[in-house]
């Protein structure tokens, strides 16, 4: 895999440079957020939410603080918030309805929330919802966009109807190539492209693609798409359309800005398996599944520890739904690695918690690193795979610590 090759090359280069002592590449040493992003951010609570890291007011883009990932399920009131357009209606569940139609549907229908809940078998699954641009702010060089740190993601137990069951009842035709979703949110001015996203028919027909109306056992928070949103487990959150009001089966690819231009990655640069062929161009392809990644959740840069006293390193790992195989932790700045203990399995789309305990034997500066691998053999990279939108940043974290 390309990612694995990159890993091997990075390790080789490090050894060569240092004559045996591993030197972390620049990417691992960390570029950090742009200064302006650090300065303009603030902890701020939207109505119904606890304090999150505000990246922008309008449209509201709020990031989950690190400490919220101490729990493997992210609380609804700490779940990140991401909108593209600023006309975000408050929806009354009694007045909401979902239109299912399009040129590849035989029997268009409208569903009320009660019909969606009662007319279709409810399915529950735990899945990571991660913004495509999570960690964009750490890109080196920096790229324009919402300058997210580590927290444009969350993990929740979603409950809803299978998209494929709803499509079947509406008479999905064999001509369908994509299923498109539109939310109730609208642009401030008419000329701005409405946020419409589509997924390939094979993904829409998957058992795990849902129209969700519950999140961690509660109705979805307004800011996370009440009363219903699309859940595309394994794929980045751009497809998880919030406040969904229309689902259209299309016999030809969706051509709106948010598909044809936005949320694209260079072809063949990332080791992803899921392809979205009907949307591919000569140079680019839509972002699809998440790359394997991990986050250290309980250490901060520069933290001090006592020589001879046990230190617990904790975190979460996730990927595009293949499942995490291992998380390796280094407590000596990358010279040696140990397998972390893995926590309870909540399903292949979920965060997997992990922890590693070590006892520092020497005083001085060192660093803690964590690197996840999945069951496809993909691992996190040591050097950024640069792309213009700052997507798929799964560079291994390096947290400098002091042993005293």
């Amino acid at each position: 895999m390309q990612q694995r090759r990159a890993f091997v090359q990075a390790i080789g280069a490090g050894w060569a440079l240092a004559g045996g002592a591993w030197i972390a590449p620049r990417a691992v040493r960390g570029a950090g957020l742009p200064q302006g992003a650090t300065d303009s951010a603030a902890l701020d609570a939207l109505p119904g939410k606890l304090a999150l890291i505000r990246r922008s007011y309008r449209p509201p883009n709020y990031e989950t603080p690190l400490e919220a990932f101490d729990s493997v399920l992210t609380a609804n009131d700490r779940f990140f918030v991401r909108w593209h357009l600023d006309n975000i209606p408050r929806i009354d569940a009694r007045e909401w309805s979902l239109a299912v139609g399009g040129d590849a549907i035989d029997r268009p229908l409208h569903l009320t929330l009660d019909q969606l809940k009662q007319g279709y078998k409810p399915v529950e699954l735990v899945a990571v919802c991660q913004c495509s641009g999570n960690r964009r702010g750490l890109s080196d060089p920096h790229v324009p966009g919402v300058q997210w740190g580590y927290g444009a993601m969350g993990n929740a137990r979603w409950k809803g109807a299978r998209l494929k069951d709803v499509l079947a009842l509406a008479g999905l035709k064999a001509s369908a190539v994509e299923i498109a979703f539109d939310g109730a949110d609208e642009p401030v001015i008419d000329r701005t492209p409405d946020f419409v996203k589509s997924i390939p028919i094979w993904k829409a027909q998957g058992d795990d693609t849902l129209i969700a109306y519950e999140m961690n056992g509660e109705p979805l928070p307004h800011w996370n798409g009440f009363p219903a949103r699309i859940i595309v487990p394994g794929w980045t959150a751009t497809y998880w359309v919030k406040q969904v009001i229309a689902i259209n089966a299309l016999a030809a690819p969706e051509r709106g800005f948010w598909m044809s231009t936005a949320y694209r990655i260079p072809k063949h640069k990332f080791p992803v398996i899921d392809r979205f062929v009907s949307q591919e161009s000569e140079q680019t392809t839509p972002i699809t599944e998440m790359v394997v990644n991990s986050l250290i959740t309980n250490l901060t840069a520069g933290q001090r520890f006592q020589k001879g006293s046990a230190v617990v390193v904790k975190g979460v790992a996730w990927d595009g739904g293949y499942g995490i195989r291992a998380v390796d932790v280094s407590t000596d700045d990358g010279r040696s690695w140990r397998a972390a203990a893995l926590g309870a399995d909540l399903g292949r789309y979920s965060f997997l918690s992990w922890q590693h305990v070590f006892t520092p034997a020497e005083t001085g500066s060192t660093a803690v690193l964590a690197r996840a691998s999945n069951r496809q053999g993909a691992t996190q990279t040591f050097e950024l795979i640069f792309n213009p939108a700052g997507y798929h940043n799964n560079v291994v974290q390096r947290i400098p610590i002091q042993v005293v």
């Binding site: 742009p34 303009s40 300058q147």
Partner: protein, 111 residues
Amino acid sequence: MSFNEYRSRSCEGHTTSWPGAAIATVLLAGACGGALAAEQDALKEGPGRDVVQVNCSRCHSTDYIPMNSPFMKRAAWEATVNKMVKVMGAPIRPEDIPIIIEYLTKYYGVE
């Protein structure tokens, strides 16, 4: 109801709506504090600031600008403004475009 209306209503009973809120924001900033005041205070003083404030804040808060700084060269700011006009449909007068690019490059860019 838009987020802006929602927030304004939550703000001691004042009700306003976008796009008229460029002015309303100024008037309400003192009374409401918090989000509106901080949004209004976001941009550095300098030639072109008002043009940027009025045009950019029609669709999004101007905290997007400091957030994306300082790493964009003139060409990157130019591309961003052009995207807002040509792709996002921002109704910016042609004569205002160079003023906006100049301000963003000078105060939030790198040469």
